[in-house]
Amino acid sequence: NMATLEKLYKQVENIKAIAEENRQKENEAAVRIQSWFRGCQVRAYVSLLHKNATSIQKIWHGLTARALFRQRVKTAYFITKMNFYNKMAVKIQQRWRGYYVRKYVHDYYARKRYLEGLTRKNKHIRRDLEEVAELQWKERERITLEKQEKEKNIQAQRLHFLLSTKQCLGVFNLPFRTEPDETELRLRKVRPLLVRSGPFRPALEVQQQRHRPLEPSLHIITSITALEEQYEGLMHTSTPFEQVAYGTKHFREEHKEYLKGKKPFKTVFTTCHVFDKFGRLYSSAGNIV
C-alpha cells in the first residue's frame, strides 16, 4: 500500500520528472514540427501566389512585348521603305541633274555646234576680207596703170612730131623692125598738142561768143508807153474805154483849167543800167561767188 503508492507516486513523479525533462524538448520539437508544417503551408500558399503573379506578369509582358515588337516591325518596315524610296529618289535626281547640267549649264553639243559655227563664220569673214583686200588692191593697181597711161599719152602728145610718115620713117618705126614700137602706135592714136602762143581762149568758147544771139535787156524790149498801151478797149461798150486817171493813177484832184494845154506827166522814167549786162559779159570780173 503505502509503499506501492509511494512507489507509484515515485514512478509517477519519475515519469513526471522524465516527462518534465522531455516536456521542453518535446515542446520545442512539436513547435518545430508545427512551425515547419505551418511554413510549408505558407510556402505553398506563397508559391501559389507567386505562380499566379508570374503568369499574370507573363501574360502582361507578352502583351507589351508583342505590342513593342509590332511597333518595331512597323518602324523597320518604314525605314526600309524610306531607304528604298531614298535610293530611288537619288537615282531620279541623278538622272535629272545629269540632264539639267548637260542641257542648261554646259551643253556639250551646243558648244560643239557653236565652235563649228564659229569656224564657218571665220572662214566666211576671212574670205570676205580677202576679197575686199583683193578688190582694193586691184583698184589701186588700176589707178596707177591709168596714171601711167595718161602720162605716156601726154608724153606722146609732146613728141607728136616724131610720128613717122610715108616718106620719112620715124625713130619708133625703124625699117629693121617687124612692127612699129608701142610709142609709135601711141603717137598715131593721140591728137597733137597744139601749143598756141598767147593768151587765147578755147575755140569753142570763142565760137559761142561770136554767134551769140541778141539778148536785148528788158529796158530795150518794152516800149516806153507800154503801161498806157496795154489796155485794149472792149468793142461793145459805150463808155469811154480809157482808165479814169483819177483814183488809179493819182489821188489828188485835177484842176483841168490849170492843166490846159499841158501834156500829162510821163509815169515811166529812164532806168539805171546797172544789171543789164549782169552774167552776160564774157569776163567774170565783178561776179561775186
Binding site: R111, L118, K121, N122, K123, I125, R126, L129, V132, Q136
Partner: protein, 509 residues
C-alpha cells in the same frame, strides 16, 4: 624835199621790212638755220613786226615765229617770255583780222604748246582757249583746222589741260568740225577729240555726251588713210576707259565694217583698228563674245600674219584678253587657228616686250582645261617658253611672264609627248609641275607607261635628286609605284655598278 621823195622813203622802208620778214620766214623753214637765227636775235626783231601796219608783214612775221618755235623749245620759251602771246591771242579773237593772220597766229600757239606741259599751260594762261574757240566758229576751214590743231596739242599733255580745254566749251565745236566736208579739218578734229578723251573717264564721257561716237563711226569707211588713223585712235581712246563707253562704241555698229579696215594698205590704220578691238575686248566677257561672234578673232589673227614688228603688239594682247575671260572664248581663239600664229610671232619677234606679251597670251589660252593645254602643247611652244625663261638676256618682265605661263599651262597639261622634252631641260621649279602631271596620268594609261619607259623618261626621273618628304619625292614615288620593282631598279642610277659588285661576292659552284 618834195612830197613824193618823202613818201619814197617810207615805201623803201616798207619794202625792206617785207623782204626781211619773207626771207626770215623762208630761212626758218629749214631746221639747220634756226640756231643761227636765234643767235642773231631774230625774236626781238620779229616781235615789233607783229604789230606792223601792213597786214602782209604781220602775217609773214607770225608765220616765221611759228616755224621757229616749232623746232626748238628754247625758242618757244623765248616766245612766251617775250610777251608775244597776248598780242596773238588778241588778234585771233578780233573779228576783223584776215584769215591768213588767224591761221598764222594759231600756228604759233600750236608750235609753242607742243613742246611741254608748262609751255602749254602758259599758252592757256594767256586766254588762248577763248580765242581758239572763237576761231573754231569761223567760216574758213583753214582757220578752223589751225585752231583745232592748236587745241589738240594743248590737250595732249595731261588731264588738267584737257579739262581746261573742255571747260572752254570746245568739244561741241569739234564735233561740228568733224561733220565738215574738208578732209584735213576732219582729221585734225578727230585727233583733237582723241587727245582730249585719252586722259580720264570723265573726259571720255564728256566727249561721248556730245554725240561724237556716231559721227566718228560714220567716217570709218572714208577712203582717206590718215583720217581713218585718227578716227580709230579717237574711238580706242574713248573705249578704253570703262565698260559703258565701250558698249556705246560697239552699239554704234562699227563691226563688221571696222574689220574691213584691217586689210587697209596703211600700217597705222590697221594698228589703230586692232588697238580699238583690244580696248573693247579688255572689259567684259560679253563684249569679247560680241567681237568673237562677228569674226573679229579670225580677222586679227590674219592681221598678225600680215604684219611685222611692233604693230603686232595690240593684236597679241587682244587675243590674250579674249582668252582670259572664259574657257569658251579661249576655245574660240584656238579654233580660229590662233595658236600656230602666236607661235610664229614668238619665233619671229626679237623685242622683249612683244615676246612677253605672246608668252602671257599663251598662258591665258592654255590655263583653262587639258584640251586647251593640249592645243598649246601641240604647237611645240614649251621648249620656246622654257628658253625664254632660262635665257639670261631676257628682261625681268619676260622671264616672269614666261615662267607664269609655263606653270599655268603645265598644271593642266596631260599631253605627255610634249611634256617629255621638258624633263631633260627644265629647272627644278618647273620640273616639279612636269613630274606632277606625269604622276597623274601614268597610273591610268598603260600605253603611256610603256612609252615613258622606252623613251628614257623613267631613267631621267630616277636621276632626279629630291629631298625626301618634298612634293617632288612624292610624285616620283607615285610614278615608281606604277612600275614593277625590277624595272625601277634596272633604271635607277648606279645599277650597273651594283650588278658588278655582285660579281665580286659571287662564289662560282
Amino acid at each position: 624835199m618834195s612830197q613824193r621823195q618823202i613818201l619814197q622813203v617810207f615805201e623803201q622802208y616798207q619794202k625792206a621790212r617785207t623782204q626781211f620778214v619773207q626771207t626770215v620766214a623762208d630761212l626758218a623753214a629749214r631746221p639747220q638755220n634756226t640756231e643761227t637765227l636765234q643767235n642773231a636775235g631774230v625774236m626781238s626783231l620779229l616781235r615789233p613786226l607783229l604789230l606792223d601796219a601792213v597786214p602782209t608783214i604781220q602775217q609773214t612775221a607770225a608765220l616765221a615765229l611759228g616755224r621757229l618755235a616749232n623746232y626748238n623749245d628754247d625758242l618757244a620759251e623765248a616766245v612766251v617770255k617775250g610777251d608775244i602771246l597776248p598780242q596773238l591771242v588778241y588778234s585771233l579773237a578780233e573779228q576783223n583780222t584776215q584769215r591768213f593772220y588767224k591761221k598764222a597766229a594759231a600756228f604759233v600757239l600750236r608750235a609753242v604748246a607742243k613742246h611741254s606741259p608748262e609751255l602749254a599751260q602758259a599758252v592757256v594762261d594767256c586766254g588762248a582757249l577763248d580765242a581758239l574757240v572763237i576761231s573754231l566758229e569761223e567760216f574758213d576751214p583753214g582757220v578752223k583746222e589751225a585752231a583745232a590743231w592748236a587745241i589738240s596739242y594743248i590737250a595732249r599733255h595731261n588731264a588738267q589741260l584737257s579739262q581746261a580745254v573742255v571747260d572752254a566749251g570746245v568739244v561741241p565745236l569739234l564735233v561740228l568740225c568733224i561733220q565738215e566736208p574738208e578732209i584735213a579739218l576732219k582729221r585734225v578734229a578727230a585727233s583733237a577729240l582723241s587727245d582730249i578723251a585719252k586722259h580720264s573717264p570723265e573726259l571720255a564721257q564728256t566727249v561721248v555726251d556730245t554725240g561724237a561716237i556716231a559721227h566718228l563711226a560714220q567716217m570709218i569707211l572714208n577712203p582717206d588713210a590718215k583720217l581713218k588713223r585718227q578716227v580709230f585712235s579717237a574711238l580706242s581712246q574713248i573705249a578704253k576707259h570703262s565698260v559703258d563707253v565701250a558698249e556705246m562704241v560697239v552699239e554704234a555698229e562699227i563691226f563688221p565694217a571696222a574689220l574691213v579696215c584691217l586689210k587697209d594698205p596703211d600700217e597705222y590704220v590697221r594698228k589703230n583698228v586692232t588697238t580699238l578691238i583690244r580696248e573693247i575686248t579688255k572689259h567684259t566677257p560679253e563684249l569679247s563674245q560680241i567681237i568673237v561672234n562677228v569674226g573679229g578673232v579670225a580677222a586679227v589673227i590674219d592681221y598678225l600674219g600680215d604684219s611685222k614688228g611692233n604693230v603686232r603688239l595690240p593684236g597679241i594682247m587682244m587675243l590674250g584678253y579674249v582668252a582670259t575671260h572664259s574657257e569658251n572664248l579661249a576655245m574660240a581663239v584656238i579654233v580660229s587657228k590662233g595658236v600656230p600664229q602666236l607661235a610664229i610671232c614668238l619665233e619671229e619677234e626679237q623685242e622683249d616686250h612683244i615676246k612677253a606679251a605672246t608668252a602671257w597670251a599663251f598662258g591665258q589660252i592654255g590655263r583653262h582645261t587639258p584640251e586647251h593645254a593640249k592645243a598649246v602643247a601641240v604647237a611645240n611652244v614649251f621648249p620656246k617658253l622654257l628658253n625664254l625663261y632660262l635665257d639670261t638676256e631676257s628682261s625681268e618682265d619676260l622671264q616672269v611672264k614666261a615662267k607664269k605661263a609655263l606653270k599655268s599651262i603645265l598644271q593642266k597639261c596631260t599631253y605627255l609627248p610634249a611634256l617629255e622634252p621638258l624633263l631633260y631641260e627644265a629647272p627644278s621649279n618647273i620640273l616639279k609641275h612636269v613630274i606632277c602631271q606625269f604622276s597623274k596620268v601614268l597610273p591610268h594609261d598603260s600605253k603611256a607607261r610603256r612609252l615613258f619607259v622606252t623613251s628614257g623618261g623613267l631613267k631621267k626621273v630616277q636621276e632626279i635628286k629630291a629631298e625626301p618628304g618634298s612634293a617632288i619625292q612624292e610624285y616620283i614615288n607615285a610614278i615608281n609605284n606604277c612600275y614593277p620593282e625590277e624595272i625601277v631598279r634596272y633604271y635607277s642610277p648606279g645599277y650597273s655598278e651594283t650588278l658588278l659588285e655582285r660579281i665580286d661576292t659571287y662564289q662560282p659552284m
